[in-house]
Amino acid sequence: MNMDLSRRSFMKLAGAGVAATSIGALGFGEAEAAEIAHVRPFKLATTTETRQTCPYCSVACGIIIYSKGDVRKGDKAEVVHIEGDVDHPTNRGTLCPKGAALKDFVKSPTRLLYPMHRKPGSDKFERMSWDEALDRIARLMKDDRDANLLLKNEKGLDVNRWTTTGMLAASATSNETAWATFKFAKSIGMVGFDNQARV
Amino acid sequence: MSTPANTAQPKTSPVKTGAEDSIRRGPPVEVVRYGPGKRINHWVTAISLILLLLSGLAMFHPSLFFLTELFGGGQMTRWIHPWIGVVLFISFFILFAQLWKLNLPNRDDVQWASQISDVISGHEENLPELGKYNAGQKFIFWGMAALIIVLIVTGIMAWEQYFGHLTSIPAQRIALLLHSLAAVAIILVFILHVYAAIWTRGTIRAMTRGTVTGGWAWRHHRKWLKDMAGRGRIDSTK
């Protein structure tokens, strides 16, 4: 998998010279054995970096997710910090107030953890197993399709149109997920199938 | 030589034993200057003042910061100093309520002050006879009162934890300046008070045992002594 975390940055491009001197000025290269320093220990030390893309607007800023644990090594990984990717041509390491706080989106207290089910008329959600939920959804959908799929129109032409169940596709899923969703929705004849683009 | 005591039957005394401003006939003659209430009150005030002085100085000058160790560190010192201030304020003003009348200045004080050199050189025979307090003691009394008011007001203004938001920062800066000036002043007054008490021998027992010797009263506060005697506030019980 292409996980190139090249350190080559725009510093090498002509023009970023000022910043280069700035960093030099921070005394690097001459760092001797540090005595007890008052500054906070650098919190990203020994974290795992992953190239990512901000999921909010369509600028699609490059970000780096710093996590404890490495999913590629099969660890359970937890996000500890998220910062802009300096090597990204568009955002050059910058982020907006939303992107800069992505960690707290990933770790939001209102993230959903389990499939939940609300019975007709009920005033609460109750936990349900994935299998139970998926079987029931498939059953409900098939029954509705079987009952309402319009095979032919009044002129007797094939129309294979299912209008009584619809779907809204996400605006932030990957293209790959979108393609899987597309295949699913169009193959079952669903026509009430739209996404955020129209809104 | 006659000993009237032998002839005369002892009389029931006119004053309750140990009552403030009364004479114990003795011998030796003793005068009750302060009752236990006032003494406790005084020492509470005194101890808070000393603690305030220590904690205050710790935050006043880096060379004295080590004093914070007495209070369990800087955070504790910062926390406790204002609370002791409140204690001092209350306890002092209980005392104040009881003593302010006696500390009102009078003509004798002017003369006493004008002859301060006799005071310092101890030639009290040249001074007028004085009541319970001399001008010096009155000065300390009123000085303390005034400074404690300044300190409590400015102290509260600078009390970040609860009152930091009540006044503007420029006001708080002035408060802190006044607070430190007043603190210096009150320490001077305090030194004077303590030293006077030490230098004038026989004084300290007034705040420990509550009594002074008849001679001490005769020497320093004769008018007070005569007044007590005149009013027969004498306890003759042996």
Partner: protein, 330 residues
Amino acid sequence: MANTMDSPRTAVSNPPVQPMETNLTQRDLIRRSATSELPNPERQLTPVAKLIDVSKCIGCKACQSACVEWNDTNPAVGENVGVYTNPHDLTADMFTLMRFTEWVNPETDNLEWLIRKDGCMHCADPGCLKACPAPGAIVQYSNGIVDFVHDNCIGCGYCVKGCPFNIPRISKADHKAYKCTLCSDRVAVGQGPACAKACPTQAIVFGTKEDMKKHAEGRIADLKSRGYANAGLYDPPGVGGTHVMYVLHHNDKPHIYADLPDNPAISAVVQTWKGATKYAGLAVMGLAAAGTILHGLFAKANRVSKHEEEEAKELVDESVEHAEKREEDA
């Protein structure tokens, strides 16, 4: 064509993840609160600075967001009081704050939405450090960073009174003073501050103070060409200059930017309090103590004589006799 990337760039490489030695140590301190004798630093780091170009700022608050995330603070969710400035003031959990001002330019009669990123200015002559009574609670590094050392902080709030910009805030939770550290922990490993890195328009840039001044010149020229005759650099001499500077389109009146002080300096009151009073006070108290001791040693104590004790006894006896006599007469 113009190279669009020649502006100073806060981030020139992504942060290191391999353990690194910090580059800001005791040896680099040039000032330490309530500490008179400080060993001269063996080396002088090049002064750094954060430059905030108010004319480029879009008030997006990315700096606030990045600051919270980097410093792991926890600002409370407040309420709307009719303004965009949120939280409504700096707090112990919000080290930097966008302050919004709607200002109608009297010359052009055009509305200008002035947005200033407020926060510690890292003064060369820091009022907080001057006021601080706790040794080592506030330190200044030779690169100009003024940092709070929370282990040494006693929470007295003197820094709040000492600061000419009203920046430090005392935490209600741990009663310690908090403010922008200029991300000393990032600078210490060669990274710029989190806010500057995040800033989408690079209105916030970070580098050596010299570079930042150079960069500011360019920005000011651009602003003048766009009709801002009074554009200039805010680097107030009253506090010896600052390591956080502003480019202002109206540098002739800083106060219009949410009360940025026109000529900030450590208050004279604080100067007196921490100067004259401190030393004079100590001296006077010392003298008084000494004086009394000397007097005690050399002047003879004020003692009560035997004779005076007898005088008192006589007085008492007499008054008792008078009393008895009156009884007998009766």
